[in-house]
Structures are given as C-alpha cells and as structure tokens.
C-alpha cells in the first residue's frame, strides 16, 4: 500500500468512516513501518484537538432580531388588501367578534368570573414576535369592547400614599373610543382635586374634560375642577385614539423590540401571557396620564409587567415597579420621592369587568359638537372641485366616513377619507392645490423614501408622538397623505393601490438654506457617496432600526460638502426606540462645550464626550468629527456607538 492510499484511509477513519476490515488491517500494518504516515496521523489528530478545544468565540444572541424580521415578513405577506373592491359591509353590531363572544361566554357582567371556557395555552415558549403578530391580527376582527379597570397608585404624596381610581373604557367600530376615570380616593382635605376625566374620540374628532393638575398646598376651594373641551381640529385630528391600547395594545406591540415574554400565567381566572417592558416602551398603556388630573411621576426605565389575555390580547393587568437603575435615585430626589424599592409596585391597573353588550353609540356623542360634514364621495367634485383618490383594493377596510374639513388653513386637507376594519384604520387626506414647500401632511423632512409596489415613491414615517404610521405621496396632480395603525407592509401595500404615481419631492422642497449653509435631504446612498470623509456605514444596526434618511450640508459660497447626517429609525414605531442621528464631518477637535453637564467616557480606547441632556456622544477619529445622538441612557449609547464606531474607512491615497 502506498502512503497516499494509507493516509486517505487514515483521514477517513479519523472522521468515523469505517474502511473494509481487510483495508483497515493493511493500513495498520503499513503505519507500523512508515514514519511519514505515522506523522500524518499524529498531526491530523493534533489539528483536530487544537481546533476543537480552542476557546469558543462568543456567539451573539440573534434570536430576537431574526424573529422580528421573520414576524415582519410574515405580517407583510398577510396583506389584507388583495383582490377585493369596496363592498357593503354588515353593521358592526352583527359582527360581534369571537373575542367579545368569548368574553361574554366567560365573564359575568360587572365582575370577572373565576374560571372560564378557555383552554390553558400550551406551555411551549412563545415569542414576542408571535405576540406582536397576534395582537395585530386581532385588530380587524375587534368591533366592540367595554371594560372597567381598577387603578391603584402609590406615592403621589406623603399625605396621599395610596389612591384608588376606576377606569371605564369603551370602543365601538368605526373608530369610536371613550375613557372615563373616576377618582374614588378619600383625600385628607378638600384642597385636593380628584382626578376625574372623560375622553371621547369619535372618528376624527376628540373631546376631553377633567380637572387640571392642582398643587396640594393651595387653600381649600382654591383649585376647583376645570373643564376643557377640545374642539379645534376636531373634524380631522390626526392623533391616534388615546385609549386604543387599553382595548388592544397595537401601539405597544407594533414591534417585538424591547419586549420580553416571561411566560404563560393565569390572571383573574383567565389564561394570560405575561410580558415585561420598560415604562417608556409601555407608554401607550397609560393614556390617562396625558389627559389631565394629577398623577405620580414615572421613571422611563421603570419595569412594567403586563398580562395580556391569551385569546383576545387585551390587557388584563399591568403593574409598574421601580427600576433598579442607579440613575433613578437622583430622579427620585428631583421629584421629592422617597427611596422606592424595586420590589414594591408603584402603580397597578387590573381588569375587573367587561360589559355584556356592545356599548351604545350614544356613549361616544361629543357634547356640544356639531357633526363633521360627511358627504358622499360623488358629491366631492361639486363641494371641493375634485374627486378624492381611493384605494382600488382596500381589502376588508371599509370607507367609514368622508369629510370636508372646515376652515381655510392652507395646511388643511380638502378631503379626509376614513377606512376602518374593526380597530384597524387608515385615514387618507388630500389636497391637490397644495402650495407648501414641504411634503403635504404630517410627514417630516426626514421621512424615509420608499418605493411602492406599483412604481413610484412615497415618504414614510413610523408611528410616534401619538400619531400612527404615515405616508406622504406627491403626485403630478395631487398631494396625499395616509395615517394608519396598519403595519408598515400593509400600509405600503394599500398605498400602492391608489391610482396615482408618487414622484420624488421637488428640489426646492428638500433643500433649506441659511447662515451660509445649505442642507439637502437625500437618500442615504447619495449622502454616502458625497461625504467629505470616505466612510462606510455599519452593517449591523440595533434591532428594528433601518437607515431612514440622510442630509448633505454644503457651503453655499463654494458648494463644497462639509458634512453628512444619517437618520436611523425604527421600522414600525418610535415606541421601540427613538431616532438615532449620526453626523460626520471633517474635524480635528471637538466643538466647544455646549452644556455644563458633559463628561468624558471611554469607547474602546477613544475618549468620547457625553452630553446627557441631548443623549449625544461626540468624538474625533481619523480626521473626522462624529456625533451620535439617541437616548439619554449612557450604557445604551455606548453600545450604539460601539456599532457606529468604525464608520470611517481609510482614505484612499
């Protein structure tokens, strides 16, 4: 046997492959006399040992990122706007959903019944991405909801260590919400103003009444309840309905980022999924804090444990615990709070009942409000001089209202169409004679340019600041915006069925000039190619983020590009993380200090300036000044910066 043949068999044998007995014996005999083959076998074994016992390189945990992408794709494929055209739809009363039916079957009016007909969910692990998908899937089929929650609040004041309030929440499609807070606390004196609130959102109009916040040290009677009625913008308010997440937490679960599924549980006799998130992430579950009255403060990093109904996905209970973050202590001092241990809840909201019947439509009547001018589509040409564009394939979304907003404000749309399907909605505003110099509608300059499936472009912004996902389309003959709680993929699919072709915004709309500097909105690839510093962007972005837009800053005098800015945003909602802004320009030193509260921190051996008020890190590397703005949490920012750190490529000689 020659050496090559013997070593081939030895190699095979090392891998656990058996040679025929006769061949094996021949090889064994060969290596007893062949030093070269013995060395081969010894070295091959040494190789294996060295490769297999070397310390394992840390493997990043990509499960969350992967599942978020998988869920997003899964949702995108499940677009409901497929082949159908608008069709009459039965009254919402008839469409009491399985959710409500299940609730009615299992709950007694006025109280939560222990036990019920539901099966305990499987104990197998459930992904946050699955919860996101199920919550979003529940939206179209939810036509009515009425429930009462008990609120217990701790720590408002040493004089009022605990408060108890009742909260009634009602929803009726299309897009009618009501929230009432009744303060049942016994206060130590009449100087305290009870937090009694009412909020109504009906279509695009809103109403709010309640006591404004009142310092407790005013004399008795010095701070009577006040009443405020919001009527302006009532016909086309673009705010997302404030109590919506108490019915179905669509805003909170617009993405899986920042949400940890703790496991299955049982709350008030119902099967529940328990999840954990920060107060900032769960903000949409606390709409009452924004509606008036007096409430205790919350730290953005406080922990929220949330139990969702395992079949209906509405909140059964959520409890806030103080964060363990050391920076909470100075925050407590600032608000005059005692040291709050992380094990003791400071706020608790729990479902106590659901109503047997869908709420009466009159529940949502706005006091003193004149109904908006709802007109049939065919009447629009006579009223406003054009026929509004409508989606040719809205799927199950139905046209719920079509209004001509009052007023002569040039920013006002001339038509607003509201399409709904259960809790899912899309508003379409249009103004053919738009004379502004920015995109029409509630879409900012830094919106992401996206391509529509049928050609043309649109400009997209994720949900945030109490408003849904938005899309602006500038066409040759009109200007349109869409605002919606549909997932991004479905919103884009719907927009693709509008009978218009979006154009890129005119040059004059995307350029601002002042102080000798011109700032031009461009797509990120353009900014990259025009950057004064040769650079490459990191391929790995924080979970859920996409590169949304970019700006190029030029010197007006000579036209030279002096800096570039990139904006990274969450794909679905700012609730999962605010915008991250990366700015790069040529520079050898940091600009002068701009805040009294700045410090130097270490970033992988580089000295970096930290400005907490702006959530900004700044540093110099390879002749470039880099600024990264995001959150006020230093640890998170350093983690981000470590991803963004190697942005500057070597200059080509």
């Amino acid at each position: 046997m020659n050496c090559d043949r013997a070593q081939f068999v030895l190699s095979d044998r090392l891998d656990g492959e058996r040679a025929a007995d006769r061949v094996g014996a021949t090889v064994d005999e060969h290596i007893t006399t062949c030093m070269r083959c013995r060395a081969f076998e010894a070295n091959a074994l040494r190789l294996r040992t060295s490769l297999r016992v070397r310390p394992a390189e840390p493997v990043p945990d990509l499960v969350g990122t992967i599942m978020a992408r998988v869920a997003s794709e899964s949702l995108g494929e499940r677009t409901p706007m497929l082949p159908t055209t608008m069709h009459p739809r039965p009254s919402t009363r008839r469409r009491l959903t399985p959710l409500i039916a299940a609730m009615l079957a299992g709950l007694m009016a006025g109280s939560v019944m222990v036990g019920g007909p539901w099966q305990r969910p499987s104990t197998r692990p459930i992904a946050a991405a699955t919860v996101v998908m199920d919550v979003q899937r529940a939206a179209p089929s939810l036509d009515a909801f009425a429930a009462t929650f008990a609120i217990t609040e701790h720590g408002l004041s040493p004089d009022v260590p605990e408060r108890r309030l009742r909260m009634d929440v009602a929803f009726l499609a299309p897009l009618r919400f009501r929230l009432d807070v009744h303060d049942e606390t016994t206060y130590p004196s009449a100087r305290w103003t009870p937090t009694n609130l009412t909020f109504i959102a009906a279509g695009s109009s809103t109403y709010r009444s309640g006591a404004t916040g009142c310092p407790a040290d005013l004399p008795a009677g010095g701070c009577p309840p006040t009443r405020t009625t919001i009527t302006k913008r009532s016909a086309y308010s673009l705010q997302a309905p404030a109590p919506a997440d108490l019915v179905l937490p669509l805003t909170t679960f617009s993405s899986a980022d920042g949400i940890q599924v703790v496991g299955a549980d049982r709350v008030a006799g119902r099967d529940a999924i328990r999840v954990r998130l920060t107060f900032a992430r769960a903000h949409a579950l606390f709409p009452f804090l924004e509606l008036g009255g007096t409430w205790r403060p919350f730290f953005s990093d406080d922990r929220v444990d949330l139990w969702l109904d395992a079949s209906g996905w509405f909140p059964l209970r959520y409890t806030v615990y103080p964060s363990t973050d050391p920076s909470r202590q100075p925050w407590e001092l600032r608000f005059g709070l005692p040291r709050e241990p992380s094990t003791r809840p400071i706020f608790d909201v729990r479902l106590t009942s659901v109503e047997r019947d869908a709420p009466d439509a009159a529940t949502f009547d706005v006091p003193g409000w004149t109904r908006a001018d709802t007109v049939p589509l065919e009447a629009f040409p006579r009223r406003v001089g054009f026929l509004p564009v409508t989606p040719t394939a809205p799927g199950d979304l139905m046209l719920s209202s079509a209004v001509v907003p009052p007023g002569t404000d040039p920013d006002t749309p001339r038509s607003v169409l509201l399409y709904t399907d259960g809790m899912a909605y899309v508003r379409i505003g249009e103004r053919p004679d738009w004379s502004g110099t920015t995109l029409f509608g509630p879409v900012g300059q830094a919106a992401q340019q996206v391509s529509l499936a049928t050609g043309g472009v649109a400009y997209y912004e994720p949900a945030g600041d109490g408003i849904g996902r938005r899309l602006a389309i500038h066409a040759s003959n009109t200007n349109v915006f869409l605002e919606s709680n549909l997932p991004r993929a479905q919103l884009l699919a719907l927009a693709s069925t509008l009978p218009i072709r979006g154009e890129t915004r005119p040059d004059a709309w995307r350029t601002l000039t002042g102080s000798g500097i011109s700032v031009e909105q461009v797509i990120p690839q353009d900014a990259l190619s025009r950057s004064p510093i040769p650079m490459e962007l990191p391929r790995a972005l924080p979970s859920g983020y996409v590169m949304a837009s970019a700006e190029v800053e030029s010197d007006v005098a000579d036209g030279d590009v002096v800096g570039v800015t990139f904006v990274f945003r969450q794909r679905e909602s700012d609730a999962a993380g605010g915008p991250i802004v990366l700015h790069v320009r040529a520079g050898q030193m940091l600009p002068p200090a701009s805040s009294a509260h700045q410090s130097l921190v270490d970033l992988g051996g580089t000295r970096v300036r930290w400005t907490p008020a702006r959530g900004q890190l700044e540093w110099i590397t390879d002749g470039a000044y880099i600024s990264l703005e995001g959150t006020s949490d230093l640890a998170s920012m350093l983690d981000l910066a470590s991803r963004f750190h190697p942005v500057v490529a070597e200059a080509v000689p």
């Binding site: 070593q7 081939f8 891998d15 070295n43 040494r46 070397r54 990509l62 998988v70 459930i126 699955t130």
Partner: protein, 175 residues
C-alpha cells in the same frame, strides 16, 4: 449535530412562529459559527445568519426531510454567505478577531500556525474541513450541504489534511 423534535419541525413547516423560534434558538450558534468561518468577519457572519434563517422561514414549507434538517439549514447559510460575498468583499484578514485565550504559549503558537495554514487552503477544501472538523458533521451531511458526492468530501478532507499537516511541519522546521 442533534436533529430537531419532529413535532417542532412539523409546526414550523405550518408557519408556527414559536416553533420556528425554537429552531432558531437551537441552531443559531452553529449557523453563526459556520458563517463566521466562511466570511471571516463577525458582522458579515451576523448578516448571513439572519438572512439564512429568514430564507429558511420562507422555504421551510418545502423542506421534505430528504436530508437532515441541519444539513438543509447549513446549505442555506452557505448560499447566503456566497451571495453576500458576491455583493460585498469581506476583508481577507479578520480585523475583528481578538487574540484567543490559550492555555500556554505553545498552544498559542500552534493555533496561530493552524490559522495561517487554514488560510492557505482553497475555499472548497477549507469549507469542507471546517464543516467536518469544527462543526463535527458527517461526510454525508457535508455532501448534502455542498451538494457534492460523499467521495468528494472524503477526497477534500484528505487533501486538506495533507496540506495542513505539511504546512505545520514546514512551520516547525522553520522555527
């Protein structure tokens, strides 16, 4: 490498996300390590891992169990790495690599020699060698992943070992 629970696999094939997440949890480390070896770049390996699972989710309905699931998944990861390398040139030298802990100076020297020797192998031989030696896959599994015959895997392993052993001997002789 262990195969997934057939019930999990069946649920995942029907689009059940928690079941698919179980698969991601079970295999993401190995897919990442494989991608890391192929791309020799940490960030690129993360991209390839994500893309591989996304493609696996898209096509898992068509997985018929003709090969082992792990082989099917690694094959997807391999294709993703090939696609990615066509789009972006990964650095030849791994700039992210950090010195690894070694139990002795001698160990460190040997590993450094092995790393250098691995770099001298052709891409196909290197990949075959890593799949067998590092990930511990059988010749049949590697053949399924690389879409070649088992005999080709055997031959590549033999050639790779010969080249590596020779390179090690040369390094030692030069010291």
């Amino acid at each position: 490498m262990q195969e997934p629970d057939p019930r999990t696999l069946a649920r995942a094939r029907l689009g059940d996300l928690p079941a698919f997440e179980e698969l991601v949890r079970a295999y993401q480390a190995e897919v990442y390590r494989f991608a890391r070896h192929l791309t020799r770049d940490r960030t690129a390996a993360e991209d390839v891992t994500q893309e591989a699972f996304l493609r696996a989710f898209r096509f898992i309905g068509g997985y018929r169990g003709e090969t082992r699931f792990s082989s099917w998944l690694f094959r997807i990861a391999r294709n993703c790495a090939i696609d990615a390398s066509r789009k972006q040139h990964y650095p030849v030298v791994d700039q992210d690599a950090r010195p690894e802990r070694a139990s002795s100076v001698a160990d460190a020297v040997v590993r450094s020699e092995i790393d250098a020797a691995l770099g001298t192998l052709g891409a196909e031989h290197r990949e075959t060698f890593l799949l067998v030696e590092v990930l511990g896959l059988s010749h049949q599994e590697v053949a399924d992943i690389q879409n070649v015959r088992v005999g080709t895997v055997k031959s590549r392993m033999f050639r790779a070992r010969q080249a590596l052993c020779r390179a090690l001997e040369d390094e030692e002789a030069a010291r």
